[in-house]
Amino acid sequence: MMELVCPAGTPAALRAAVEAGAHAVYCGFADETNARNFPGLNFSRPELAEGVAFAHRHGAKVLVAINTFPQAGRQALWHRAVADAEAAGADAVILADLGLVAHTAEQHPGLRRHLSVQAAAANPDIINFYAEAFGVKRVVLPRVLTVAEITAINREIDAETEVFVFGGLCVMAEGRCSLSSYATGRSPNMNGVCSPPSHVVYAEEGDTLAARLGGFTIQKSARGAPAPYPTLCKGCFVSEGTTGYVFEDPASLDASDLIPALARAGVTALKIEGRQRSRAYVKEVVRSFRAAVEAVAAGRPVPAGQLARLSEGQAATTGAYAKTWR
């Protein structure tokens, strides 16, 4: 059966994921070392140790995302995170920064290393480099590849691949995007938070809901229309006289129907996005995808999902997996 890797922003969400059937849960510390550094989220050291113990009692693994890029002169914060993840009993760490991958390979050789989507490793050469030089066992592929491209990559690499199947989409080269940094001065890749809520303001203006990021109005949602996340890449702008989503429509990934194709492509693990989401989301999405991977493993069709209302913009897309680019 394909491994289901599920998000946990809090200990309660971790328990919900495990109880709903997650094979593995990924989470992070409450600081700048992980890419979901939002207020009220994430794990203290004791909470991580308790979460790992809970998951292991139920046969699930815990992967710790330390997937931001260390700031010059402050590497100790990231190094300590890796050491503390190992001490807590984590089954693997998910890393993005080349230097941190090297540090982990040298200082924590017994700790399994996964490469984060933030590393944007999208071709066999770079994946094989990480595997050969630093013993990286699994690569989370960026969300820009088609199923055919994933199949081709898997034929040429000596590492497991993990792909996103549900949740919010980054449309930029992951780990490289500076849109939010431009508007707020805070970097998703170094501070761990895209569109930091401290820089987001919502205002009801007559019949519309305006969302501002760092003082820039990036969306205006009409009465009754679905609202997206306040990210620049899903912003609605006027360009050359046309108003629209210049970069990407605000829709979430749902690749559940592609699970059989991803299995044939040689993918090891399926990842659900959403560490910023509630335990209600985690429970519902994990249950749905656990049923799907069980069905595929048994040779049955993927059950019809009911997850659209949980999606950004209340709309779903198969993303790049089966995309015709404009």
């Binding site: 009220g40 401290s198 919502y202 209600a280």
Partner: protein, 185 residues
Amino acid sequence: MFGHAPEIPVFPRPLALGLRLGPAEPLGLPLTLIARRLIARHPSLISRLGEHAAARFAIDPTDLPLCLLLHPHPTRTRITVHRTAPEADARIAGPLAALLGLVHGVYDGDALFFSRDLVIEGDTAAALALRNAIDDAELDLGAEIAALAGPFRPALDPLIALAQRTTGVALTRADDARIPGEGLA
């Protein structure tokens, strides 16, 4: 007011109008006692607020003619009840059923935001911290209120369950998870 997702019940209008008849302020005392009891049992409610622990939150059930103002504190949390939305650092507004469903793990906050059933104004970071802290605490308001009833609890539990079934409003924690494979023959 925006259209609600079909599964979110709206507080019956005649009952909401009835709430206008009496004074709102006395409701603050029992709500304060319940909040203090919850925080004593779930100290992470405060610690997860981090730098927003001193923020004032307006909790605004949009289908009721009142609004709560929450001042969190490790031991002296206070809730006051107002007829109109008071000045606050952050305002979280939505139908009462949506707000209770968030507390009890029935609804996802982002999904309610996408559908416009939940409105956040003011300090977005503070509102997000509160939402995440509450979600992690796995609160059960029905159980807390029943526990306050002391010897009358056995009589109150079925009434809460009946109210939940008939109104569709989550008055207790959603707790129906199971480990796949467990309990199966």
